[in-house]
Amino acid sequence: MDKFTTLTGIAAPMPLVNIDTDMIIPKQFLKTIQRSGLGKNLFDEMRYTQDGKEIPDFVLNQPAYRQSQIIVAGDNFGCGSSREHAPWALLDFGIRCVISTSFADIFYNNCFKNGILPVVLPPEAVAHLMDDARKGANARITVDLEAQTVTASDGKVFAFEVDAFKKHCLLNGLDDIGLTLEKAAAIDAFEAKNASLHPWA
């Protein structure tokens, strides 16, 4: 997993609330057995017509936003299906950070496993950044994970909260399976105890 430290990039405004993972990556693209290559189908049904032509109005098709690395989104981003194909598609497109007032739990977790930082900010802050993002490619937003801040193009700084362990793993690009396997003795001990307490489990 790639580290996430700081990022300065173009932010695409997507104010719609309840953007679900079916919208982010529709089911017909879940038949892959790989993690890569999904970027071209990110937001497929909002981005392309039925016969595969780009819909010019869609934000990521507009010249200013084709290189976006950040999405500023409406409330409850990533709701619905647990498909990790959603963060894989975002990452493959080049998105490393999503900013919203709230995220669905499973999507939020999945982001951290893939080097994407989901940032939760209060409604006034998201509204400010949404306006900023609407300015196009000249409005560059800076996200600093170590400092836990988002800086708008006008210099306004917003602080955000993030779980200390998740932050540590993302800053260092750590594989958490490796970290857990260091606790193998604790897992062994739990299984031994459980076998006598709950032998049916």
């Binding site: 609330v17 993690r35 409406g74 990790e84 999945n110 958490d176 399976i177 606790k183 897992i187 739990f190």
Partner: protein, 473 residues
């Protein structure tokens, strides 16, 4: 003396392997369910790192999302190439890693969340995960069950644990009894209508109250199944005599002395008097009507007696979302819901693909025909549900009414297999999501109970099932 604990607190406490100073826990996982769509990358990860499946005996795999539900599907040539590769990958992974497996040729194959309880893999007090958000279904047994992403699937395969922070406790109480014609599906949709699709975010919900206690195990599974649609990763119902009766004798349920020991433990799985909930929602059972969704979010719920709302009746970001939904759904604000014409009926899914769901739909359809030109299908949740429905004569009722009688799978709930809606096609569905494009690009989904879907199949429009049942609204 320990402080009073919720059911969630108790299950959590009994599964903590390690707790870090910041509260991050390593949680032990008792059952890991696996399907073909969200697992190939996880097994590939194991191969690349030379890791094994830590507890193959606690890991259960079944193909369901992708598989055709038409006859002759045991011939892989029937499947589109990408689906065939994905199912073949699951076959190989199950074999290579020695996990429990129900291939499509096995009568026990079906939707993973129907197979788990049916085979007795899901037991009270357990932690159950699967790379599928509707894992919440298993909470009906008083098991802590939730969906995970593919990276976490790999983590559980390798370590039989998950890194977790504890959620907050939310209580959803349904008091009193349901009125005739009102079902578990109406409860769960009504709760989401009341709390919104983000209302449960960060919480584990415990459903309780008389109306919940009065539900069968299958009804309880329907309720918990859609906890995720309300934003909660997991929904729970305390186990009781109905739970124990359902579990007893199932292939993987404990037997003999182990059964007695398990039963003694399961009877301790309830929320203590005075335990703290961070959020409480109470709904009167008698206030719940048969409901349908009108929009493209499961929170867009209204009683069937209602009308399509005006976008201006909402606030904030929901105004634009409602406008977009109404446009996508091809509806007009103020239109009566019962005036909405239906092209297709889909009965099935992990929400409503069990035997009682089929009985409820068949009771409405018996001796009747579906509307001319209607496309209608029943997709049983498992091969065993299908066999039982045939034995009870339900299959014949569906076939005589004009329904297609399919093999088990997820089918048109997420339309990964050939069962899809065409653009503009409008479907009365017993599944769980009405998102844009969910059942096929441009497809329009109205969620409802099996009885309501059956009623719509007969009349050709959204219908108050109580009229066909001869009960008062």
């Amino acid at each position: 003396m320990t402080a009073p604990r919720t059911l969630y607190d108790k299950i959590w406490d009994d599964h903590v392997v390690h707790q870090a100073e910041d509260g991050t826990c390593l949680l032990y996982i008792d059952r890991h369910l696996v399907h073909e769509v969200t697992s190939p990358q996880a097994f590939e990860g194991l191969r690349m790192t030379g890791r094994k499946v830590r507890a193959p005996e606690k890991t259960i795999a079944v193909p369901d999302h992708n598989v055709p539900t038409t006859q002759g599907r045991e011939n892989p040539e029937q499947m589109p190439e990408e689906s065939r590769i994905q199912v073949a990958a699951l076959d190989k992974n199950a074999r290579d890693f020695g996990i429990n497996y129900y291939p499509v040729t096995d009568i026990r194959q079906g939707i993973v969340h129907i197979v788990g309880p049916e085979q007795g893999w899901t037991l009270p007090g357990m932690t159950v995960v699967c790379g599928d958000s509707h894992t919440a279904t298993h909470g009906a047994f008083g098991a802590l069950a939730h969906g995970i992403g593919t990276s976490e699937v790999e983590h559980v395969l390798a370590t039989q644990t998950l890194i977790q922070k504890k959620s907050k406790n939310m209580k959803v109480e349904i008091t009193g009894s349901l009125r005739p014609g009102v079902t578990a599906k109406d409860i769960t949709l009504s709760v989401i209508g009341a709390t919104g699709t983000a209302g449960g975010t960060g919480y584990v919900i415990e459903y309780c109250g008389q109306a919940i206690r009065e539900l069968s195990m299958e009804g309880r599974m329907t309720v918990c199944n859609m906890a995720i649609e309300g934003g909660a990763r997991a929904g729970l119902i305390a186990p009781d005599e109905k739970t124990f009766a359902y579990v007893m004798g199932r292939p993987h349920a404990p037997k003999g002395a182990k059964w007695e020991a398990a039963l003694a433990y399961w009877k301790t799985l309830y929320t203590d008097e005075g335990a703290h909930f961070d959020k409480v929602v109470t709904i009167k059972g008698e206030d719940i009507a048969p409901v349908v969704t009108w929009g493209t979010s499961p929170e867009d719920v209204l009683p069937i007696t209602g009308a399509v709302p005006s976008p201006e009746s909402f606030t904030g970001g929901k105004v634009d979302a409602a406008r977009r939904s109404i446009d996508y759904m091809g509806l007009t604000a103020g239109q009566k819901l019962t005036d909405i014409k239906i092209d297709t009926v889909f009965i099935g899914s992990c929400t409503n693909g069990r035997i009682e769901d089929l009985r409820a739909a068949a009771a409405i359809l018996k001796g009747k025909k579906i509307k001319d030109g209607m496309r209608a299908m029943v997709v049983p949740g498992s091969g065993l549900v299908r066999a039982q429905a045939e034995e009870e004569g339900l299959a014949q009722i569906f076939i005589d009414a004009g329904f297609e009688w399919r093999l088990a799978g997820c089918s048109m709930c997420l339309a990964m297999n050939p069962d899809q809606l065409s653009p503009g096609e409008r479907c009365a569905a017993t599944s769980n999501r009405n998102f844009e494009g969910r059942q096929g690009r441009g497809g329009r989904t109205h969620l409802m109970s099996p009885a309501m879907a059956a009623a719509a199949a007969i009349t050709g429009h959204l219908t108050d099932v109580r009229e066909l049942m001869g009960v008062e609204a």
